[in-house]
């Protein structure tokens, strides 16, 4: 391909596989290829040992017991398994009401909607303008029949970090099962499940420099949380999730989480410096708005709206960098990001938002190039924009009567 590869600033969509992870995976694709469920020959034993070592690595990153880790095909499956699995198991004892937030990943929202179709009721909490859930509103949403709450640790679009400990304590006090989608959190924030009052937590490998197609669900043992399996079969993973384990992918996830544990502190410091540099540069552009709280936020994420330019033309203009407008999973459609809408952003500002996500292989030069590119392209698009012209003429755009279609 003659096309020069753009600078990758879309680490929240997926991360490249760390070369160390790939190296560790390859032997399990070739010589050590056994089925870990084959108990009768050493091909199976080697695979099983590798799977258990990886389980331990995943557990160590989040201070869990390896027996609390269930392998899945990814965070989407983990979220489906946790939410449907716990709701189905506990509904008869507790009730059929679920609490989640409007800014969750689609894998949570769509799963909750599916439960609504089955006869459950759901409350979708609106976050504050900074993207954070108000603890009092969360408390107020709890009903006697609330069986489960699902709140993400780190938001995929705006990177804000929810106060999981406080939310979890509310759940504990009210006997509500608490699920946390941590797909965007591993390697970015400290997670200590010995302390956090969380019952179920979803993980993904490919957001943390591991391979795609593998994830895990944490299922607390003390007090024991039960879930109804969503995939039935050979009874793998203690009956919670059947299906032949993909040893090489599991090994990759284990290695990725080991690296995350060992390097997180220094890596986050470096990434924070890059993000602050990017933020400073972009804020030099007039009429630029940061989406989401800046303090309760992972250093990897910067989500910015550029007023008076249209989102799609902006994406076209900056194709020398690979970024997202809205969540990766929805960016094929032209709808404005539902996360930014939930924060109360106008359609225009939601449309003209860009998510920059920084990661392990981002350099200072990448950031500087990005700042210059945005400055020049935003300038050019605003030259083209009748809205910018009106704004500069002092016209209040909200008062204009538009000839809408």
């Amino acid at each position: 391909m003659s096309e020069r590869k753009p600078i990758y600033l879309d680490y929240s969509a997926t991360t490249p596989v760390d070369p160390r992870v790939a190296q560790k995976m390859i032997p399990y694709l070739t010589e050590d290829f056994g089925n870990p469920a084959s108990r009768s020959h050493p091909y199976g034993w080697t695979a099983e040992q590798a799977v258990e070592n990886a389980r331990e690595e995943v557990a160590r990153l989040v201070h869990a017991d390896p027996r609390e880790i269930v392998w899945t095909s990814g965070a989407t499956e983990s979220n489906n398994l946790a939410i449907k699995g716990a709701a189905h198991f506990y509904a008869s004892g507790k009730g059929k009401h679920i609490i989640t937030s409007a800014t969750e990943h689609k894998a949570v929202l769509d799963t909750v909607r599916e439960l609504e179709r089955e006869g459950y009721e759901a409350t979708y909490l609106q976050p504050e303008a900074d993207g954070l859930i108000d603890i009092e509103k969360f408390k107020a949403a709890i009903r006697p029949d609330t069986v489960l709450a699902s709140i993400m640790l780190v938001n995929n679009e705006i990177g804000v970090v929810q106060d999981i400990e406080a939310l979890g304590n509310v759940c504990r006090a009210n006997n509500v099962i608490f699920h946390v989608d941590a797909a965007q959190a591993t390697g970015k924030v400290e997670i200590d499940l010995e302390k956090l009052p969380v019952d179920l937590m979803s993980f993904s490998a490919h957001k943390t420099y591991g391979p795609k197609g593998i994830g895990a669900l944490y299922v607390r043992r003390k007090p024991r949380i039960r879930i109804e399996a969503q995939m039935h079969g050979g009874g793998h993973e203690r009956g919670m999730r059947s299906g032949t384990l993909a040893t090489h992918q599991i090994v990759g996830m284990g290695e990725a989480f080991r690296i995350a544990r060992e390097e997180m502190a220094s890596e986050n410091e470096r990434i924070r410096a890059l993000r602050d540099r990017l933020l400073k540069g972009l804020l030099q552009i007039e009429e630029t708005y940061v989406n989401g709280d800046l303090d309760h936020r992972v250093p990897h994420n910067l989500n910015v709206s550029f007023n008076f330019v249209e989102g799609e033309s902006l994406i076209m203009a900056i194709k020398d960098i690979a970024v997202s407008s809205g969540s990766a999973c929805t960016s094929a459609s032209l709808e404005p990001s539902y996360v930014l809408r939930a924060l109360g952003r106008s359609d225009e500002l939601a449309h003209s938002s860009i998510r920059f996500s920084i990661g392990r292989f981002t350099t200072e030069a990448d950031v500087d190039y990005t700042i210059e590119l945005l400055k020049s392209k935003i300038g050019k698009l605003r030259e083209l924009s009748p809205l910018w012209e009106m704004f500069k003429d002092g016209i209040d755009l909200s008062k204009v009567e538009w000839a809408e279609h």
């Binding site: 694709l29 039935h232 050979g234 990766a328």
Partner: protein, 381 residues
């Protein structure tokens, strides 16, 4: 490991060419298929190319292929997903299905389905008369595997499809064991849904597909970002998908010569087994050419498998997923095999690279172990 691998129905080694096809997608540059930039586009293109390749291998259009995390998920998706959009009636599965078909089927009993089993004859072939009789009760869905994983017996799916169609019942077939070992044409089989898997044909573990008749209304098992046209959410496992497609093409290309070679090797094996007075299960049936399932009278399968492992031969005592348990194979019991005989069952499943010499060595080792174990049991008795 110097072990000779005779357990290809459990899982197969990844082909070196497949690994080469996968490596670029395990490297630094792979994006998320839903992203709009070039990284995402490249992944999307690779996934769609793979989809076309697999579609061609089973004679369907690309849009009929839904990728999953493997055969288990595809079977669960087929059974639960199709049933979810039908009014509960009767659900028929054969008595020899893999648990990842029979267990989701059983789970539907909670949702008002009447789950019934179709029997097999003593050669492990579906009893079509039983099927026809049960289909006279209103039936929404039928699921019968294309070839049995333990005996290798091939099932009369095309005939069953005609019976099901006449009664307006949808038919799913789990083709995980047959795919890559037999020519598999979705249209010719006349089924409405079919499961295929990658790691049984030299592709990577962790990917499979459900092939769907376009008229089938199926509900997703996994909800979320709306990938796979809303039928299966979750970030596409591009490396595995590319590997799967590559393995499909290689398997299709080598199918004919491989089948012939394996049939000869199996004949060599079974001639030897008969000299040891082995019972060969389903021998009169049309079988996958690589599979032989047998028992030596009065020798426990698990014991024999362990002994053979020490002698350097990896074989299975039943299907891998159930080798945890010491229950006799449900497949053999369905065939009417006596439980004591069934406990002796050992499966040899051949792969592309097994040789005459390996079979010969295996037969010698087997003979020695049988002699030794019989001696032991004589002493114990």
């Amino acid at each position: 490991m110097n072990t000779v691998y005779f357990d290809h129905n459990s899982t197969t080694a990844l082909k070196p060419q497949v690994l080469q096809a996968m490596l670029p997608w395990l490297s630094q540059t792979a994006g998320n298929a839903t992203s709009r930039h070039v990284y995402g586009r490249n992944v999307r293109d690779a996934v769609e190319t793979a989809r076309k390749q697999i579609a061609e291998c089973v004679g369907v259009q690309a849009s009929q292929v839904v990728f999953t995390s493997g055969g288990t998920e595809a079977n669960n998706f087929a059974i639960k997903g199709i049933a979810a959009n039908l009014a509960p009636t009767q659900l028929l599965v054969s008595a020899i299905e893999h648990p990842c078909v029979s267990r989701p089927a059983q789970s539907l009993a909670w949702h008002g389905w009447k789950v019934q089993s179709i029997g097999v004859d003593d050669q492990c072939v579906l009893d079509l008369a039983d099927a026809a009789q049960k289909l006279s009760t209103r039936t929404g869905l039928v699921s019968v595997m294309l070839a049995n994983n333990e005996t290798g017996a091939i099932q009369p799916i095309a005939e069953l499809a005609k019976l099901a169609k006449a009664q307006d019942a949808l038919l799913h077939t789990d083709a995980v064991q047959a795919f890559g070992k037999l020519p598999v044409d979705f249209g010719a089989l006349g089924v409405n849904a079919m499961t295929v898997s990658s790691h049984k044909i030299g592709g990577p573990v962790g990917v499979g597909a459900l092939i769907l008749d376009k008229r089938v209304d199926i509900a997703p098992l996994l909800h979320g970002g709306g990938q796979e046209r809303g039928l299966r959410s979750g970030t596409e496992n591009v490396a595995a998908i590319v590997g799967f497609a590559n393995a499909c093409e290689l398997a299709a290309a080598s199918l004919k010569t491989r089948s012939e070679t394996q049939a000869k090797l199996r004949e060599q094996l079974e001639t030897g087994l008969q000299r040891l007075n082995a019972v060969i299960f389903g021998q009169q049936a049309q079988r996958l050419p690589n599979t032989s399932f047998f028992a030596i009278p009065n020798i426990e399968g698990e014991t024999l498998v362990t002994a053979l492992d020490k002698a350097g031969y990896a074989v299975a005592s039943g299907s891998a997923c159930s080798s945890d348990s010491t229950e006799p194979s449900h497949v053999l019991l369905a065939m009417g095999v006596d439980a004591d005989v069934a406990r002796g069952a050992v499966r040899v499943s051949l792969g592309e690279h097994n040789t005459e010499a390996e079979i010969q060595g295996f037969l010698q080792a087997l003979q020695q172990e049988v002699k030794r174990l019989k001696g032991l049991s004589a002493v114990a008795a």
